[in-house]
Structure formats: structure tokens, C-alpha cells
């Protein structure tokens, strides 16, 4: 850990601490038993080995996957705010494929499901990419709007073509056993966690050791110089960065269906696409950092469930913590950029 890594770490830790202080204050002000709520939060996330494995880590996986995708996009300066929609659409694709591959050998079935999910995620962001490259539409808006369309699609799927056989609940049938990711021991933790770790490593190598990773960084920090002096095809780099981030968000959706829920229903995502933004930013776009922040925010979400259960605090409150974290990180860096020697969040440390 060099000195360059130290400063962002301190900022991150500080932002998290501030977020929690705010949460505690807010809870107290709202009349909740703040200590009870905070300890319920802790227990929900880290209270037991089982809590850690089956609640925290399980929730961390989609956050890590989407966050890694965002790391690619943000590094190139492309703002994919549509992770939510890409996740959902991929879940639809994963569910559909999962229902078809009953007779297949398990490894093949799982691969098919995950591949379909990644493809769906990439396709869902392909439209915004087209709009951006051909019409100059800001990808922020187009990816954002498609989130809502994705939600509508899920709603349609589970009340229509993919609805379970008895047509009672707005949910799909469970996918075939062959298409399900194996779990570890008796927990809910599935092999997706290994995949997440592998992807993080590959991405780190890619960012630090390849021309591809260098080009992403160059485009993100100086697209004009990258084009003129770097002779880099900026549009192609941006487009492919966005497509990859869509694919990884899609993978998250596939992993969720194939490893956790085994079926599709509404509100499948408690806002993973948005939380992943905080995950990526707090990790300063470092793939290994994303692993850490992903686990942390997974803990937050798991703890939130516990907090709701044991102390009656609505789980959705944690988005306030997430938002606070993002704002503080943004603030500190912006001040640092104008005042001190520092590196901006959309730039990578290694």
C-alpha cells in the first residue's frame, strides 16, 4: 500500500463513518431506539457466521458484479446509471433460459443461463450506446429511463408469458435444477462469489497491465488528447466500455436468479443498480476495492433487513447512508482537487 492509496482509504472510511453517524442521528430524531436499531443492523450483517455468509456475502455478489462493470464504464468517463434495468432484463432472460434447459447437463445449463443474462444486459445498454454514438444523447438519461422500462418488462413477464403455472402469483415457476448454481455447504452462498473474485482479478490485470486498460483511463481523463495524440478511437472505446458494463450488470442478474431466487418476481432488485454506483465510487474504481466495498454495502443491505425485523426501522433507510457516502466522497475529492494534490474518483490508483 503506497501513500497514494492511503488518502482515498482515509476518505472512504471517513465517509462511511459520517454516514453512520447521520443514520444514528436521524433514527434518534425520528424517535427510534437508535442503539437498538444500530445493533440490529450489525447483527443482521455480521452477527453470526451464517449471517455473514448467507446474508451479507450473498447480497454482496450482485453489487460487486455491477460495481465491476461500473468501474470499467466510469474509468472511461461513461456514465451508466442503468445497472438496475440491465440487471432486471438479464434476470428475465436468465429465467426464461433456466426454464428451457431442464434436460441439459448442469454445467452447460448454468453456462447457458449466465451467458444469456450477460447478453441481455449488453443488449439492454446497446440502445443507449447507439443513441449516444449516433445521436449524441447523454447516456445518463437514456440508461436511467430504460430502468423504468425494464421494471415494466419484468412486471409484464411475471403476469404474462413467464407467470407460474397456476397463474396465482406475479412470479415465475422455479427454474430447472440443472440451471441452478451450486451453493457452499448448507448456506445460501453460491459459486457466484468465486466468479466475482475471478472477474475482479482479471479486471485488475486488465486495468494495470494492458493497453486496453490504459486506453480506458486515457479516454476518461482526456478524451481530446486521447483522440488527437493517442490516436485512440474514443467512440469505440466508450461504446465497448458501456457494453461490458451492461454485460456485467446482466451477469449480476443471472447470478441472482441462478444462485439465489431460482425464479423471477417483481422487486427482484432492492436497488442494486444504484447502490453499485456507491460501491464503485467508494472503491475508487479499483477492482479489489470493489470487492471490499461490495461486501460492505452487502452488509448494509443485510443489516437493513435485520434492522427492519428487530427494530422496526424501514430497510430503505440505508439508501440515505449510501447517498451520504457518495456525497461526502464527491465533496472531499472536489475540495482536494482544487485545494490539495489529489486524484479524482473517476481515476484509478494503481
Amino acid at each position: 500500500m503506497t501513500r497514494r492509496h492511503l488518502l482515498p482509504l482515509v476518505t472512504g472510511a471517513g465517509a462511511l463513518a459520517a454516514g453512520f453517524v447521520l443514520l444514528g442521528l436521524g433514527l434518534a430524531l425520528a424517535g427510534y431506539d437508535a442503539p437498538l436499531a444500530m445493533s440490529a443492523l450489525w447483527r443482521g450483517a455480521f452477527g453470526s457466521w451464517d449471517a455473514f455468509i448467507s446474508a451479507t456475502l450473498v447480497r454482496a455478489i450482485p453489487l460487486i458484479c455491477i460495481g465491476l462493470g461500473l468501474a470499467i464504464a466510469f474509468r472511461a468517463g461513461a456514465l451508466n446509471i442503468g445497472g438496475e434495468g440491465q440487471f432486471l432484463v438479464a434476470a428475465i432472460a436468465a429465467t426464461w433460459v433456466g426454464l428451457q434447459v431442464g434436460g441439459w447437463p448442469a454445467p452447460l445449463a448454468v453456462t447457458a443461463v449466465l451467458a444469456a443474462a450477460m447478453l441481455a444486459g449488453a443488449l439492454w445498454i446497446a440502445f443507449p450506446v447507439l443513441l449516444k454514438l449516433k445521436f449524441g444523447v447523454l447516456e445518463v438519461i437514456s440508461t436511467l429511463l430504460l430502468n423504468f422500462v425494464g421494471e415494466a418488462l419484468v412486471s409484464y413477464a411475471v403476469t404474462g408469458p413467464l407467470q407460474e403455472a397456476r397463474h396465482v402469483y406475479p412470479a415465475s415457476d422455479p427454474i430447472s435444477v440443472a440451471a441452478r448454481l451450486p451453493v457452499f455447504g448448507g448456506s445460501r452462498l453460491h459459486w457466484g462469489v468465486v466468479l466475482a473474485g475471478i472477474i475482479a482479478t482479471l479486471l485488475w490485470l486488465g486495468f494495470t497491465r494492458t493497453a486496453w486498460g490504459f486506453r480506458l483511463r486515457a479516454v476518461g481523463l482526456g478524451s481530446r488528447a486521447a483522440a488527437t495524440s493517442g490516436r485512440i478511437p474514443v467512440r469505440r472505446v466508450l461504446g465497448s466500455a458501456l457494453l461490458w458494463s451492461g454485460a456485467l450488470a446482466g451477469l449480476a442478474g443471472g447470478l441472482e436468479v441462478s444462485g439465489v431466487t431460482y425464479n423471477l418476481y417483481q422487486n427482484l432488485s432492492p436497488g442494486y443498480g444504484f447502490t453499485a454506483i456507491a460501491v464503485a465510487l467508494l472503491a475508487r474504481l479499483h477492482p479489489f476495492g470493489v470487492l471490499a466495498t461490495g461486501v460492505f454495502f452487502g452488509a448494509l443491505e443485510a443489516g437493513a433487513q435485520g434492522m427492519q425485523r428487530d427494530a422496526g426501522v424501514p430497510a430503505v433507510t440505508v439508501s440515505v447512508v449510501e447517498a451520504t457516502v457518495i456525497l461526502i466522497v464527491l465533496l472531499v475529492e472536489a475540495r482536494a482537487r482544487s485545494g490539495w494534490r489529489f486524484r479524482p474518483a473517476t481515476e484509478l490508483a494503481p
Binding site: T208, R209, T210, A211, W212, F214, R215, R217, A218, L221, G222, R224, A225, A226, T228, S229, G230, R231, R343, P344, E347
Partner: protein, 468 residues
């Protein structure tokens, strides 16, 4: 003189970081006169005007307006003291109309509206958007904007930089008119002809100090002024010494229209802004696409030094090494099959840093910590390291001080001596004539070649299409 000077700057000292721009400069502007402030690039003329305009507080010295000591905290303060400034670079807003630009400068106070009305009547095309204007009209807009606040002191910072000789005439006429109506004008320039054409008195700055204090122009000559500007060994711009290096010119490496460019030549390109020289040169550099068939380049590496080094040449947030690799991320020196060996890249960069004497803390320093001159050296070093057959440079000495400028010119010459075909476009006509063993002129997108040994007047006329 019985009345107090309109503007008086005494003993102004100002440093920017480690660079000392002004070391106790004096300038005294009498009412109703046009007073030229002369000096080489980097002598401190612009800095002195900026101090007078309230943009930077001086580190030392005092400012007096109409005899009263004043302290200026902002251009707003200067404005309220009836000091107006015309900047070197266009500050009008492209999307707003001429009238809107003038109204904006006039300010919100109703009192200013009187001056605004008078000035807007002189605007030639009030409803046109600023970016639809020609360069000369845009410069005129700058002047009108400054006049809109009803100033009595006008500070002009190299107002003719982008204009052709006859357009400069028109501008100077306006300036003289302003002085005749009672205003005082400080005219910053580094062009001697303007001084004789328009000014009553002249002050010369050299390296941040005043070396000639407000002498009447009638007592000065080309020679005396040049000597003051450049020091004892100063001369005006003389055309490139044709005898310097005959017989080392090589094979053809490029062709623009029917003009041939050979390896080892140092060619200057002269043009008034907006005549298509940028597009043509960038086509040679492979950065832009030319019109069909106009530019032919024999296959090979072409180096490019863009005009704006911080947005097009370098990425300031990245390190020197990373910037060095920019554009060559597949070079076998540090790359194999898409992977980059940063250790090797760093080593090569360190060698370059030494070879080109780039002042930096190391190959990992961020480029934004380098001075302008060192940044430009990096851009040049990177371009040359790829062993190009052609090197295209756009205004390579822009914004550099005298020493950096001289060094860069020397390195360009060395590159040519080593066999690279060097094409240099500079908005500074004198630089083009001095550097280039051949001079190409671009007018309305068409290229022609000036006769060997052509002087300023000849080239200037070609730039305006006179006599073609």
C-alpha cells in the same frame, strides 16, 4: 504636464509561482495619448496590463489613477474606475449575439446604459451570433465590449494578433479616434510597425523591467526599439539563412496540392487564422481527413505537436510515462500482445527526460506539475522518439517564455538536420520567416509558396491574397 497621468504604474513586482514576471516595472499613461507598451514574448507586457485591470494584485509597487492611489481587487474595481480592457483571446460568447455580448459587458447598472446605447449603434451586425462573425469583426466586437462600459482608459493586449495588415489599419484608426475624443490608450504589442503607426509615446519592457520609459515615438527608430527589446545584440526578424545547410534535403515525404515536401526540410507555414491551414496541416499529420486527393503522404510515422498541449497533446492528470506511451501503446519497446510493461516504459521515459532536459521530479510525476515549456518538450520528445519522417507543429512556442522558445526552435532545427521534414505553423509571422528555409502560405484553403528570402511584407501580402 500639469494634469496628473491617467494611469500610473510604479515599481510593479509580480510572480506567478516560481516565475517572476515583473521585477519593478514602470508605466505612465498621460491623458489623451496612445502609449505603446513594447516587448518580446515573455517580457511581462500582458502581466502588467492584467495588474492594471485588477486581475491580479501586484506583489509590490503602486497603482495610481488620475493621481489617486488605488488598490484593485477585481476587474470590477477597474471597471468602476473607468478602465476597460481588450484581451488577447476572444472573450465574447459564441452563442450570444453581438448586441447581447455588448449588453453583457455594459453591466446591469442603468448608468452604463448610456454608453451601451452609443456603442451598440456602432456595431455592424447586432443580431448576428458572435461565432458567425469573421475574425476581424470578432476583434471589433472585443473593442466594442470594452467601450460599452464607458471607459476613459483603454488597455489593449495585442489586439492585432490574429489580424491581417489591412485589418490592423482599421483597428488602429478606431484606437486613434478614441484618444482624440479624450481617452487614454495603453497598447501592448511586440510589432514595431504598429508602434510607429499609432502611438505617441513608447515604453519598452524587457524581462519584467522597464528599459525605455515613455519616450516620444518620434525620437525612436526600428533599431533603437529593437535594441531596447532584445538587448544589445537584437535584430529584427531576418529571413532564414539560406546558406545554412544546402544539399542535405532528401526524398519526397509529402505533397500538398502540387507542393512537394522533402525530408530534412524545415518549412514555415504562414496564414491568417481561419484560412484552412489547420485543416491542411492536420491532414498531413493524419489527425483529420483532407479534401479528396489534396494531401498525399508517403507511408510512415508522422509526429504531431498540437496547438493546445493541455487538451490535445497531453493528459495533465496522467504521469509523464503514461503520456509518453500515449499514441504508442503497442510499441514493441514496452508492449507485447496488448500487454504493457510499465517498468520498461518508465525506463525509456527517464532516458528521454534526461535527453531533453525536462525538469520534473521523475517519470511518475503528473504532467500537470510541469511548466509549459517542459510540457511542450515532452510533446516534442514523444513525437521525435517515434522516429517520424514528418513532424507537424502548430504554434509550438505559444505561451512559452524566451528561453523555452529558443530551446524549442533549436530542437526543431536539430530534428530537421537529422532528416525529419518539419512543418511549423506559427501565428507569429516573424517566427515563421526566421525558422523556415521555405515558407508556405495558406489563403482561403489554397497553398502557395513564398519566393526564397521573402520578407514580411511579401509574405503578409500573400497571406491576404493580394496580387494572386
Amino acid at each position: 504636464m500639469s494634469e496628473a497621468p491617467a494611469l500610473e504604474l510604479r515599481g510593479i513586482v509580480k510572480s506567478f509561482g516560481s516565475v517572476q514576471a515583473l521585477r519593478g516595472a514602470d508605466f505612465v499613461l498621460a491623458p489623451g495619448e496612445v502609449h505603446a507598451l513594447l516587448g518580446e514574448n515573455g517580457a511581462g507586457k500582458s502581466s502588467l496590463l492584467h495588474v492594471a485591470n485588477g486581475m491580479f494584485p501586484p506583489d509590490g509597487g503602486e497603482i495610481r489613477v488620475n493621481g489617486q492611489r488605488v488598490v484593485l481587487h477585481s476587474p470590477g474595481d477597474a471597471r468602476s474606475l473607468q478602465i476597460g480592457m481588450v484581451h488577447q483571446h476572444f472573450t465574447s460568447i459564441a452563442a450570444l449575439t453581438v448586441a447581447e455580448n455588448i449588453a453583457l459587458s455594459a453591466g446591469s447598472h442603468a448608468a452604463r446604459q448610456g454608453a451601451f446605447k452609443r456603442v451598440s449603434e456602432r456595431a455592424l451586425a447586432p443580431k448576428l451570433r458572435a461565432d458567425e462573425l469573421s475574425v476581424a469583426l470578432r476583434q471589433r466586437l472585443e473593442l466594442l465590449k470594452a467601450l460599452a462600459t464607458g471607459p476613459r482608459i483603454l488597455l489593449l493586449d495585442e489586439p492585432s494578433a490574429a489580424l491581417a495588415p489591412s485589418e490592423i489599419e482599421a483597428l488602429l484608426a478606431e484606437v486613434r479616434q478614441f484618444a482624440r475624443e479624450g481617452g487614454s490608450v495603453a497598447l501592448v504589442t511586440h510589432k514595431l510597425p504598429e508602434v510607429f503607426a499609432a502611438a505617441d509615446r513608447v515604453t519598452v519592457l524587457r524581462q519584467g523591467e522597464t528599459v525605455l520609459h515613455g519616450e516620444p515615438v518620434s525620437t525612436q527608430t526600428d533599431v533603437t526599439l529593437a535594441e531596447a527589446m532584445l538587448g544589445a545584440s537584437g535584430r529584427g526578424a531576418t529571413p532564414h539563412d539560406q546558406n545554412r545547410r544546402a544539399g542535405q534535403v532528401g526524398a519526397e515525404v509529402a505533397r500538398i496540392d502540387d507542393i512537394v515536401i522533402r525530408s530534412g526540410e524545415l518549412i514555415g507555414v504562414a496564414a491568417v487564422e481561419g484560412n484552412g491551414q489547420r485543416e491542411l496541416l492536420r491532414a498531413v499529420a493524419g489527425v483529420e481527413r483532407p479534401g479528396p486527393g489534396r494531401v498525399r503522404v508517403t507511408p510512415g510515422t508522422v509526429g504531431f505537436i498540437p496547438e493546445d498541449r493541455t487538451t490535445e497533446g497531453l493528459i495533465p492528470e496522467l504521469s509523464i510515462t503514461e503520456n509518453f506511451v500515449l499514441g504508442r501503446d503497442h510499441d514493441p519497446l514496452w508492449s507485447r500482445r496488448g500487454r504493457i510493461d510499465w517498468g520498461a516504459a518508465r525506463r525509456h521515459t527517464s532516458t528521454i527526460i534526461q535527453e531533453f532536459e525536462i525538469r520534473a521530479s521523475g517519470p511518475d510525476a503528473a504532467v500537470r506539475t510541469l511548466s509549459g515549456g517542459n510540457q511542450q518538450k515532452l510533446v516534442l520528445a514523444r513525437a521525435l522518439h517515434a522516429r517520424p519522417s514528418i513532424l507537424v507543429a502548430e504554434n509550438p512556442t505559444r505561451g512559452l517564455d524566451i528561453r523555452a522558445t529558443a530551446e524549442l526552435r533549436r530542437r526543431l532545427q536539430e530534428a530537421a538536420d537529422a532528416g525529419v521534414a518539419v512543418l511549423v505553423y506559427s501565428a507569429d509571422l516573424d517566427e515563421v520567416i526566421e525558422l523556415g528555409e521555405r515558407v508556405l502560405v495558406v489563403y482561403r484553403g489554397r497553398v502557395s509558396e513564398a519566393p526564397a528570402g521573402a520578407d514580411r511584407q511579401t509574405v503578409g501580402r500573400l497571406m491576404l491574397g493580394v496580387g494572386t
